[in-house]
């Protein structure tokens, strides 16, 4: 049976590992390499590393840090942050990451998704979609750390990135991110049901029950965790951790993604 992938999503800001809440208030977590080494020892399914200051600072990814990460982590790795060109994606793959995550620059030039997918396969291309609820109902897609708004709704944009060649969607709720209040299940389900590619639910996980809900009610293929894996519990100090494999397996047994046996 195929395991539901449970993926730590780690945020890098100017070389440090941080955690945000609603995309703001960067809380220092620690040294990225030390933390990633712990996740490697915990044998996590996969890792997503997002450099959240690369695009705002208009700079290149931190190549040296990525090389250090790839030489320490023996699981699937995805990188996002500041990627604008095919050549940069090529460099990410050459270092030993197997997926690139595109967000802001996919809005400017969605063809980039296809250019990368044609050479490296669509499974190597993750489109990251950040969604924020509007104050008076409805929701909108945002990018550039939620500073830029787009006049397109998440479902329509998800269908477009799929058509442009993305093989996976990292769907983040800005309103839930860092809050421990559970995923935006309604959003996750609408996007998951609208596309044929896997959707990773991100933003709001506070416990194993939220992971199960994202899969059962949200129809997500996999789940990304932030605060839950870097803090002891809500409002407490840093503790790099990961749910017990057995606990996850028991909780996820019989759900859609693991139904095949």
């Amino acid at each position: 049976m195929l395991r539901t992938r449970v993926i730590p999503a780690l945020l890098i800001d100017r070389g440090a590992l941080v955690k945000t809440r609603n995309f703001a208030g960067k809380h220092y977590v620690g040294d990225p390499c030390n933390t990633l080494r712990i996740f490697n020892e915990l044998e996590v399914d996969e890792l997503v590393v997002l450099d959240i200051s690369a695009t705002p600072q208009k700079r290149e990814p931190d190549w040296e840090l990525m090389r250090d990460i790839a030489s320490e982590c023996f699981m699937p790795l995805a990188y996002g942050g500041g990627l604008r060109t095919f050549e940069q994606a090529q460099r990410v793959f050459g270092i030993g990451f197997e997926k690139v995550v595109l967000n802001s620059h996919a809005h400017d030039r969605p063809e980039l998704l296809r250019e990368i997918a044609e050479v490296y396969g669509s499974q190597a291309v993750v489109a990251s979609i950040d969604v924020r609820r509007r104050r008076f109902g409805g929701e909108q897609v945002v990018s550039q750390s939620a500073r830029r708004r787009h006049q397109i709704d998440p479902v329509a944009w998800a269908r477009q990135v799929e058509a442009f060649g993305a093989g996976e969607i990292l769907l983040t709720s800005v309103d839930r991110e860092g809050t421990w209040t559970g995923f935006d299940l309604d959003l996750v389900r609408r996007v998951s049901d609208a596309v044929g590619i896997p959707v990773i639910a991100h933003g709001g996980a506070g416990g194993v029950h939220d992971i199960v809900a994202a899969v059962v009610q949200g129809h997500a293929s996999s789940v990304a965790l932030g605060s839950m894996v870097v803090f002891q519990k809500q409002g407490c100090g840093v503790l790099v951790n990961f749910p017990e494999r057995r606990e996850l397996e028991t909780a996820l047994a019989g759900t859609k993604a693991t139904a095949d046996a």
């Binding site: 049976m1 023996f74 790795l77 793959f93 030993g96």
Partner: protein, 207 residues
């Protein structure tokens, strides 16, 4: 003495992560894309990510197919990973070009099944079909899992060539092996200690 593992770089594989993991298990690697280096190699590793025909065309353009087959038939331990494993076969439903034909069999697209997305992407559990030098370490494990990403699944012609089996809608060969030629459908270089044990076993094969 073991000689370095020659990783064949024909432009379609994640060489970086393979080198990282071999370095971790203390095995020496070299990367080359010419027939001469293959003809001298003590061990061959054929990686691969992407489309079947694109890969066979690049191997053909570089003139590597005869060198790989000669070396493999001369008894040099050879391991194909992911698409690299499928290239060892006669062919694939994904393309029209013939494969290297070192192990009889073909790759076929996963049949559509309710609720199962293609590609088969993620961690899956395998079970042993035959004993093999690459998987002997599994006897001490309760459960062995690997990371898979593929849309086409392999079934070897002869059951005796299947080393590991896996299920995703259908049962397919997760690893194959015949004499000194081996294939892994999953990515051992991305499969934590399980992949490390398998690549380490390959590095330790006499050559």
């Amino acid at each position: 003495m073991t000689s370095p593992i020659l990783i064949i770089d024909y432009g379609m594989g994640n060489i970086g992560s393979l080198r990282n993991m071999f370095k971790r298990v203390g095995a020496e690697t070299e990367v080359a894309s010419d027939a001469g280096s293959i003809a001298r190699a003590g061990k061959l590793l054929l990686p691969g990510v992407g489309a079947f025909d694109a890969a066979m065309r690049r191997i053909g353009d570089l003139g590597l197919a005869p060198a790989i087959c000669d070396r493999a038939r001369a008894g040099v331990p050879t391991l194909g990973i992911c698409l690299g494993m499928q290239l060892l076969l006669d062919g694939s439903e994904e393309g029209r070009l013939p494969g290297l034909g070192l192990i009889p069999g073909r790759a076929r697209r996963f049949p559509p099944a309710a609720g199962l997305k293609v590609p088969h992407m993620g961690w899956n559990v395998v079970r042993q079909a035959q004993r093999s030098a690459l998987t002997d370490w599994m006897r001490g494990e309760d459960e062995t899992r690997f990371y898979f990403v593929h849309s086409y699944a392999v079934q070897t012609e002869r059951p005796a060539d299947a080393v590991l089996k896996c299920t995703y809608g259908i049962e397919f060969d997760a690893a194959i092996g015949r004499d000194n030629v081996y294939g892994a459908q999953f990515h051992p270089e991305k499969s934590h200690r399980f992949g490390m044990a398998l690549l380490s076993a390959f590095a330790k094969l006499p050559c």
